[in-house]
Subunit: 255 residues, 2 copies
């Protein structure tokens, strides 16, 4: 199992009990799926929720088995991936707090979810939740918005996968990851510098995301370092030295 040594980037624990979590104190209360619920509705929903923790590398759900539970990410990063019959793998998304994981209205996931860092999620049984969703438009609305964001980013990555060079892909990943990590940390009330962060993915995980090999990813890091766009310490700690140039590489229009 990889990543054993990763320190979860969010270290504070919520004070939720494990059976009847105090949702009011939840890390993602303000922005997650539950943010649109009033306290009555929340009290109802709370009855079916349960906290779960995963260690970095753990599988959260897989392709083949029907989903028992959906979940909201409270803490840590979740990797979503797909796999071809012969084993070729492609990461199709990263989930940060307060993302939802699972496929609403279906009992089969067409993908795998695994914990990239240590992860805490708030789970709820599939059937109950689907019923609940149908009778609670505000909840469904919020989940719809989260889904639209995921669709936007999936399409963004399609452009990246189909048309960018290896160097551009790495630049795009660094920018995207730094922003999402930064936001997740701020959300938790933690200190964070946008341009200085721990890259929580291994080269293998990066290459699965970018549709490249480990070696090619490594070479692009060397090029970015040599060009003075980034600085890397201990192969994990990234400092972005020239964000505008990275933006240009990543195809972000700069006005």
């Amino acid at each position: 199992m990889h990543n054993k040594n990763v320190v979860p980037f969010i270290t504070e624990k919520s004070d939720c009990g494990s059976d009847h979590p105090v949702c009011e104190a939840c890390e993602v209360r303000a922005c997650g799926m539950c943010s649109e619920l009033n306290s009555d509705t929340l009290r109802e929903l709370r009855k079916i929720t349960r906290m779960k923790e995963y260690k970095a590398g753990d599988q959260i759900f897989c392709d083949e088995e029907p989903t028992e539970n959906y979940a909201t990410i409270k803490n840590g990063i979740v990797k979503l991936s797909k796999i071809l019959p012969d084993g070729r793998q492609q990461t199709i998304g990263l989930g940060f707090p307060p993302d939802f994981i699972g496929r609403a209205f279906k009992d089969k996931n067409a993908s795998f979810a695994s914990a990239l860092t240590d992860v805490t999620v708030c789970t709820f049984p599939r059937d109950l939740f689907n019923d609940y969703l149908k009778s609670t438009p505000s909840l469904e609305h919020k989940l719809f918005e989260l889904t639209l964001n995921e669709l936007d980013s999936a399409r963004e990555w399609m452009l990246m996968l189909g048309r960018m060079t290896a160097l551009e892909k790495v630049a795009a990943l660094l920018l995207n990851f730094s922003e999402r990590l930064h936001n997740a940390k701020l959300l938790q009330g933690l200190q964070s510098e946008l341009n200085k962060f721990e890259l929580l993915l291994t080269r293998a995980e990066i290459s699965d995301f970018l549709g490249l090999t480990i070696e090619t990813v490594s070479r692009q890091f060397s090029i970015l370092k040599q060009k003075g766009l980034i600085n890397v310490q201990n192969q994990r700690f990234i400092e972005i030295l020239d964000r505008p140039s990275l933006d240009t590489l990543a195809g972000h229009e700069n006005y």
Copy 2:
């Protein structure tokens, strides 16, 4: 403008008037966004809808300008694409009836939509529709389901873009396209054979979808022909001769 000569694959006209369409007779009444609406609600919605027709090649909306209208595809195929500052292009999805086009709750599209064939859509003003959506949970629910399907297929294509060979990509496209076209035709009550269809995309459009060049796509067609998996007439009319083998190439597990 390309594709001038394309005959729209759905030739019957709906009998909807152009200002107050008779939704009950709509091609996609049974399966589209409106399928969940009762006739009262439908009568309301109808007040803000308007039919629009586009010729093959026409732009429906673009990246830069805010969306004025959303739409449901009644007829024809819509291409969604993204473009890098230097002009590199990636198709991120194909819309068939009864797909929704536009980005709910936002006034900016992060993509271009253009008509791949002649297209008829049912449009509605953005602001009115967003309001309507918020007050009509059944409508929002249906749109949510359509969006989930799009997310599923975007992720499917991410695996394709990131990890498949050129030959596999072409196989996957042919299978996917034949199915969706078949369904769209059946939906319209037209005759259709799953394994015999007109490929409505040019090689350029295919290559934009698959993240390849025209020449590479062409070569893969030749290989598939030579292997006896497909037959091509006049460079447009495809017959799938060996679907199981194509399925294997496309990474579809066969049990």
